[in-house]
């Protein structure tokens, strides 16, 4: 875990309203694994940090995160100019486990759920696995342009691009399923593949395990911490009915 000031070094748009921001954060870029996140401190006016899955990490010391303007924090991030810094805490949490003997991996992402997937695709390929990435959104212009893998399947709710229906319905069978997206999508993943690994989004405070604000309800009872035991869970271990149906900003 590191805490450093990370200057913005790049920004690009990857769908109608999803942006990728790149930050110079060499120590974190080197350590981060797929599914882990950083907690970004925006400075004055923002009490709490904002958690973001690491989207990409490059050999030249950059990390990337994806976001939509959904509130004041994300608006402030999108208003940053190159050279402006955020306080970057990470890498945090327990990421995807790609160590098993699976030879085929399906990545399923809904909307902003693309967040951990490029890193997951990289780590899965490095582990010698064949990667199929299934990416879904409501409409064609909400699809992230950067889905890639040995095979890519696109899905839209309105049928305007690719498979007409959900990413879960469009996904092929494979040895291992990794998923990220809205809770209702992840609940559908859990119903079809109990052993899938899912990356959850929750409200979060400290990101380091002390505040207990990011409670995830478990089927076995009780809660644990998305920031520490998560954010990646075995799909069938999460009590989906007890998770909030939505966060007060839109995540889909």
């Amino acid at each position: 875990m590191r805490l450093l000031d990370a200057p913005l070094v790049g920004k690009r748009r990857v769908s109608r309203d999803i942006w990728v921001l790149g930050f110079e954060a060499p120590a974190i870029a080197e350590e981060v694994r797929a599914g882990q996140f950083v907690n970004l401190g925006l400075g004055r006016g923002f009490m709490l940090r904002r958690p973001f899955s690491v989207y990409r990490a490059t050999a030249d010391g950059r990390i990337e995160v994806v976001l939509k303007a959904v509130g004041e924090g994300t608006a402030a991030l999108l208003a940053m100019r190159e050279g402006d810094s955020v306080s970057c805490l990470g890498p945090l949490g327990r990421g995807f486990d790609l160590g098993g003997d699976a030879t085929t991996v399906t990545l399923i992402s809904g909307g902003l759920g693309v967040a951990p997937m490029p890193l997951a695709a990289r780590d899965a390929r490095d582990a010698g696995k064949q990667v199929t990435w299934v990416h879904g959104a409501r409409t064609a212009d909400e699809l992230c342009e950067e889905a890639d893998g040995d095979a890519v399947v696109l899905a839209t709710d309105d049928g305007s691009s690719g498979f007409a229906g959900s990413a879960v319905a469009a996904a092929p069978e494979s040895d291992l399923v990794l998923a990220c997206g809205p809770n209702r999508m992840l609940a559908a993943v859990a119903a079809r593949w109990p052993d899938a690994q899912v990356a959850l989004e929750t409200y979060m405070g400290c990101g380091t395990g002390v505040c207990l604000g990011c409670a995830v309800p478990l089927v076995r009872g009780g809660y644990d911490r998305a920031c520490t035991e998560g954010p990646v869970y075995r799909a069938a271990d999460v009590d989906w009915s007890a998770l909030p149906s939505h966060l007060h900003y839109a995540i889909a």
Binding site: M1, L3, G41, F46, M47, L48, R49, S87, L89, T202, Y203, M204, G205, C206, T208, G209, V210, C211, L212, G213, C214, A215, V216, P217, G221, G222, Y223, A242, L243, P244, H246, L247, H248
Partner: protein, 300 residues
């Protein structure tokens, strides 16, 4: 800057507040040299699951939380954490909770004499539990009864953490001081509420939560000052401290030490920055120790 507060030998004037530092094992980025002491996350006799999510909400200059005193129970605390505390060079107070005075007393008896436990901070003020907390902190007789139940089971230092949700904090402060408290922590979070304008319901599943952060700082300084004027035992100031200046306001207002809480969530090294800032302030003004800092504390 070592100091003795209500029987606890602090390594410095800046402590970690209960509920914002876990059991002391979870803030790896803090420079621990600066930590005067810590108060554990609140503990009950039995394990508690806590409240369903959402548990936190950011608010202007603050945050609401309703964690529901999630915790492993006293057996796990004694087994997993106290042995580590016994090795540390700063004191750990255990924040204790119960639903009856007898339960507080039983919890105290379980922890008394356990190596690593330097003393107790009684939570009579947690606003997040439907039974217990609020009741004791609002009523001087109930607050005194809980203090007495703890006092009678231990010779270790006993601090009482006061709730701000009272009409006269001096009344409660005097009641628990008379019942044997060695020091007071003032104050706990303020009860607040925030509404979700998409769902047309409260943002927290518990409906209400404890408000912390800079939003409460001047309110907390006022209440800590009132408590300090009301009693002769030391008062430890807590509420919205983000910077050394925030901490120094509590000290000048009559507090003997401070606790830093929510700031740690935003800045894992906040306690060290507050500590170093206090030291620099004292040096800059030519004060050789914290005792030389002028206090504004006219007695009633």
């Amino acid at each position: 800057m070592t100091l003795s507060i209500g029987g606890v030998e602090l390594r410095g004037p800046v402590m970690a507040a209960s509920g914002t530092f876990g059991y002391g094992t979870e803030v790896p980025l803090l420079e621990r040299r600066a930590l005067g002491g810590m108060v554990s996350k609140g503990i009950f006799l039995k394990p508690r699951a806590g409240t369903p999510p959402p548990r936190i909400a950011e608010t202007p200059a603050g945050m609401l939380n309703a964690i529901g005193l999630q915790g492993p129970g006293v057996d796990a605390l004694i087994r997993d954490y106290a042995p580590q505390w016994a090795e540390w060079d700063f004191p750990v107070l255990v924040n204790i909770n119960g639903e009856s005075a007898a339960e507080y007393g039983e919890l105290t008896a379980r922890l008394d004499g356990v190596p690593g436990v330097a003393g107790f901070e009684i939570n009579i003020s947690c606003p997040n539990v439907e039974q217990g907390g609020m009741y004791f902190g609002n009523d001087p007789r109930a607050a005194a009864a809980v203090t007495e139940a703890v006092r009678s089971r231990t010779k270790l230092p006993v601090w009482v953490k006061l709730t701000p949700m009272v009409s006269d904090i001096g009344v409660i402060a005097r009641a628990v001081a008379s019942a044997g408290a060695d020091a007071l922590s003032a104050v706990n979070t303020f009860v607040g509420m925030s509404m979700d304008l998409n769902a047309f319901r409260p943002r927290l599943s518990f409906r209400t939560g404890g408000l912390s952060g800079p939003a409460i700082h001047p309110l907390a300084v006022h209440l800590a000052h009132q408590a300090a004027r009301a009693v002769d035992i030391p008062v430890v100031g807590v509420g919205g401290i983000m910077t050394a200046a925030d901490a120094l306001e509590f000290l000048v207002a009559g507090c003997a030490a401070v606790q830093v809480g929510t700031a740690t969530f935003a800045n894992p090294n906040a306690i060290a920055e507050v500590h170093d800032g206090i030291a620099a302030f004292l040096a800059g003004h030519g004060f050789r120790s914290l005792a030389e800092l002028p206090r504004y504390l006219p007695k009633d």
